[in-house]
């Protein structure tokens, strides 16, 4: 175990020589954009951010650094020594620790047990926890984390679980920490706490690689930022030398569309109305309770909330997938007793929470995926009109900029952003009156995100009403005309996006206000 890696109060003596040096790394890899000639130097005891669109090659690069892939050419030096990692265990031995986006913790075990898992200290073959507990406490206090090591994981919140993941890699002796999208799952307050911990880590001499596409956070936390585009490094910049827009342009490689003022005013007709909507779940607490709202023509209403506060069930209720009390009106018509297809025929469209689970048939072709939900209008009599269906798919591909060789390839070959564009295109293609959009840009890159926003805005200008459910607060603030906060199955506040900030939303979302 590398015990010297975490010692407080060493700041003055820390040398800033490159701790990781990647030189001319190339990797070709089927289905994923290759890494082409990537070089970067990461200095000791700094936070080095790596930003880039989804599929730009960030993850491939990190997997190479972590020993999951071997580069086709190029070299990796750690502390000035040329190294080749054949597996993650070799990378771990060299002091590299990876905190994955999805936590890998056993819920029933305690914090301590999770941390020592795989590295259990023993004396004479018997587990000896006391030393480990002491060391975990030391590590925790050195980065300003206050956790009882004997609490079970199941009692922790998302932010605390992430802290456990970090402690886990520190316990294994890591002094180079790779954080993969660490803030994706956190509310703003938790992000602030995380950043405090990260700064302490750096002060102790740890080097942090911070992968993200949340540009504001990158700008606030990093010492250096490397931008990767299409597998190559575009630039390495200091955060005070760029702003958000400049960084986004570096990532996308072209000017981004501006925020875009609305071309039309909010209309007078109510297009989507919920009255005392309650979702009934037998033998459970009702996940949605007495929710009422109206959405007017050309209006976007954002819904924010911590995951699991009823947003998902609300969407299901609007779509007609669950048992409800109360009423739902679509386009002025009572839809409470209509089934899903009838509601869709009334002009409702739905961009689902999870495109893989609810949106796509991954092994089926693009045109079959585009056909899903439109199979009635794209039929001749009882038979599918194959030509019309393929043509309709080509139109969606064209209009929504889906990058694909043709419409016959199976959906799984597309990148996440292109899959999402297909799902969005499928739902906007027949000019719906009302769109329920759940996380419309989750996990997709900046370019695809801008395209999806643009399409939503265009349809809104044409009169479409939108219920926007999203965990991306910037997205909600940027698109919405009104914001509703969902907490514990109820709407707890209505806010004006012009006056709200992510911090204010965060307070309402956690029920603090």
């Amino acid at each position: 175990m590398r015990s010297g890696s975490v010692k407080p109060n060493q700041k003055s003596t820390i040398d800033k020589s490159p701790v990781v040096e990647l030189a001319n790394i190339s990797k070709s890899f089927p289905g994923v954009v290759a890494n082409r000639d990537i070089s970067m130097r990461i200095e000791r005891a700094t936070i080095h951010a790596i930003v880039g669109e989804n599929g730009a090659g960030k993850s491939t690069l990190m997997k190479i650094l972590y020993g999951l892939h071997q580069p086709d050419s190029g070299t990796i030096s750690i502390n000035g020594v040329l190294t080749q990692f054949k597996s993650p265990s070799e990378a771990i031995a060299a002091g590299i620790g990876m905190v994955h986006q999805h936590f890998m913790l056993a819920d029933n075990l305690t914090i301590l047990e999770n941390i020592i898992l795989g590295y259990e200290p023993t004396s004479y073959g018997v587990l000896s926890l006391s030393d480990a507990r002491k060391r975990v406490k030391e590590l925790a206090s050195s980065i300003g984390v206050d956790l009882d090591p004997d609490l079970p994981i199941s009692e922790l919140g998302v932010g605390q679980r992430q802290r456990v993941e970090i402690l886990k890699v520190l316990f294994r002796g890591a002094d180079i920490l790779v954080l993969d999208e660490p803030t994706a799952v956190l509310v703003p307050q938790e992000v602030d706490e995380l950043f405090v911990n990260l700064r302490k880590l750096v002060a102790n001499g740890t080097t942090i690689l911070f992968i993200s596409h949340k540009l504001d956070e990158v700008l606030s936390i990093s010492d250096q930022i490397t931008v990767i585009r299409q597998g190559s490094t575009v630039a390495t910049v200091a955060p005070n030398a760029v702003d958000r827009l400049k960084l986004a342009e570096l990532m996308v490689g072209s000017d981004l569309p501006g925020h875009g003022e609305r071309a039309t005013k909010i209309g007078k007709n109510i297009q989507l109305s919920a009255r005392d909507l309650t979702v009934i779940v037998k033998n459970h607490k009702n996940p949605v309770q007495n929710v009422s709202f109206d959405i007017f023509e050309s209006e976007i209403v954002g819904i924010v909330g911590v995951d699991g506060n009823g947003q998902f069930e609300l969407c299901e209720a609007l779509l007609g997938l669950v048992d409800i009390q109360g009423t739902v009106e679509i386009g002025g018509i009572d839809a409470s007793n209509l089934n899903v297809r009838e509601r869709l025929d009334q002009g409702l469209a739905y961009i689902p929470f999870d495109r893989h689970r609810e949106g796509l048939m991954l092994s089926a072709s693009l045109w079959e995926n585009a056909l899903l939900g439109h199979e009635v209008s794209l039929s001749r009599g009882p038979m599918i009109d194959f030509d019309a269906a393929k043509k309709s798919c080509r139109e969606i591909v064209e209009q929504f900029g889906v990058t694909t060789p043709n419409e016959l390839v199976p959906a799984f070959v597309l990148s996440g952003g292109n899959q999402q564009k297909l799902v969005v295109g499928r739902n906007l293609a027949k000019a719906p009156k009302v769109l329920v959009a759940a996380h419309p840009t989750r996990g997709i890159d900046v370019g695809a995100q801008a395209a999806v926003w643009e399409e939503i805005r265009r349809s809104r200008d044409a009169g479409m009403s939108v219920l926007l459910v999203s965990a991306d607060l910037e997205e909600v603030l940027g698109l919405s005309d009104r914001i509703l906060v969902m907490f514990d199955g109820k709407i707890s506040a209505e806010l004006d996006p012009k006056k709200a900030t992510p911090q204010i939303l965060g307070k309402y979302m956690t029920g603090a206000q």
């Binding site: 899903v340 689902p352 199976p410």
Partner: protein, 369 residues
């Protein structure tokens, strides 16, 4: 550019078919090798055994027998495949077709119609009866959420006892003082004519036609698309407004209807009656293996049914040359096991290739831009 892409398209679909065909053939060869080893271990000469199979099987007479034996397998496999296409496992084809055989045989004796209509009437009754029996499992699944695997297996046993009771109590032909263990014979107007006298019945043509209809309905029609979508991703299908319960009901009814035809080659093509010993059994289960081997594709099912028919047709002769006829069943079982394994491996390889080729095509798109 667009020409290149469309050429690419035809290539795509051809390549997929070739991939499927190649892996299935490979699986069959591998299964024969494994069986050869088994034969060696038991002290028999595998080359002699396979030689015998080919020698006896590849005669005109045996080839007709192959088609005859393939006929019920095609019906049964398609019935199973309809369920498979939406991830429903209809293990109850056995009970459905035996129930349908009894009802259709009996109803066929109670009407007098001109020949083609009489035959059609019996076929329709068989399909409705098969669907009716399958509907029990469908209703249990829709209303109570009971897994169709369990309910259809159980309904097989219920069907056997139920059929026996109805047969003995109501439908048994007692004109001959109890010597006939059959229903009353169907009049000649209700009999399906032979294609080749006493060797191959017209039901073979019906089987090919049903395979064609299966292709049209499942692969070309709107209903078929909804069925396949519900199988590929039931949550996405539901979210897109395809009613899950209705699809379950329709799929199981359709499956049961086709199952109803399994025993018809015997009932209206051979024995002209239902009888506990004369009506063939076990085809429901054989259909599952044939559907697996044929990958739920109509053409694949026909070929697989013929392969099984071929192997079955040679089993009697094998016995004469002191090779255990059960080796045929062993070959069939091993083929299915190997096919399932090889299918999985080859479709993974195929998916990887597709992803690679798409990535390449995307790269060339990038360059041309």
């Amino acid at each position: 550019m667009s020409q290149q892409l469309s050429a690419n398209r035809n290539f795509d679909s051809m390549r997929k078919s070739l991939n499927t065909l190649g892996s299935s053939l490979g699986a069959i060869v591998l299964a024969l090798v494994i069986c050869g080893v088994l034969l060696l271990v038991t002290g028999k000469d595998p080359f002699a055994a396979y030689g015998k199979i080919l020698e006896t099987g590849l005669t005109g007479e045996k080839l007709l027998e192959m088609l005859k034996r393939a006929t019920p397998l095609i019906f049964s496999a398609i019935a199973v495949a309809i369920g498979f296409k939406m991830n429903l496992f209809n293990i109850g084809v056995e009970g459905q077709y035996l129930f349908a055989a009894l009802i259709a045989a009996e109803m066929g004796t109670h009407v007098s119609l001109p020949a083609p209509l009489h035959v059609l009437f019996i076929l329709v009754v068989a399909m409705v009866s098969g669907a009716a029996w399958a509907s029990i499992a469908a209703i249990l699944k829709i209303t109570r959420g009971i897994n169709e695997v369990i309910s259809t297996i159980m309904l097989n046993y219920i069907a056997l006892s139920f059929i026996q009771w109805i047969f003995e109590t109501f439908f048994r032909d007692d004109s001959d003082g109890g010597l006939n263990v059959k229903t009353t014979e169907i009049a000649s107007s209700g009999r399906m004519p032979d294609l080749v006298d006493n060797r191959l019945n017209g039901m073979f043509i019906v089987a090919l036609f049903v395979a064609f209809l299966y292709w049209v309905i499942v692969f070309r029609s709107r209903f078929g698309f909804q069925l396949r979508a519900s199988g590929l991703n039931p949550i996405a299908a539901r979210t897109a407004g395809i009613p899950a319960k209705r699809m379950i009901l329709f799929a199981l009814l359709l499956s049961g209807a086709v199952a109803g035809l399994v025993a018809m080659p015997s009932v209206i093509g051979d024995v002209y009656a239902y009888g506990p010993s004369s009506t063939p059994t076990q085809f429901g289960f054989a259909g599952i293996t044939v559907a697996l081997l044929g990958r739920n594709h109509p053409f694949g099912i026909i070929v697989a049914a013929m392969l099984f028919g071929f192997l079955d047709s040679t089993s009697a002769v094998l016995q004469l040359s002191e090779i255990p006829s059960s080796i045929v069943k062993v070959i069939q079982a091993i083929i299915v096991l190997v096919v399932v394994i090889v299918n999985e491996a080859s479709s993974r390889r195929y998916n990887r290739k597709i992803a690679e080729r798409a990535a390449l095509a995307l790269k060339s798109l990038d360059v041309s831009r």
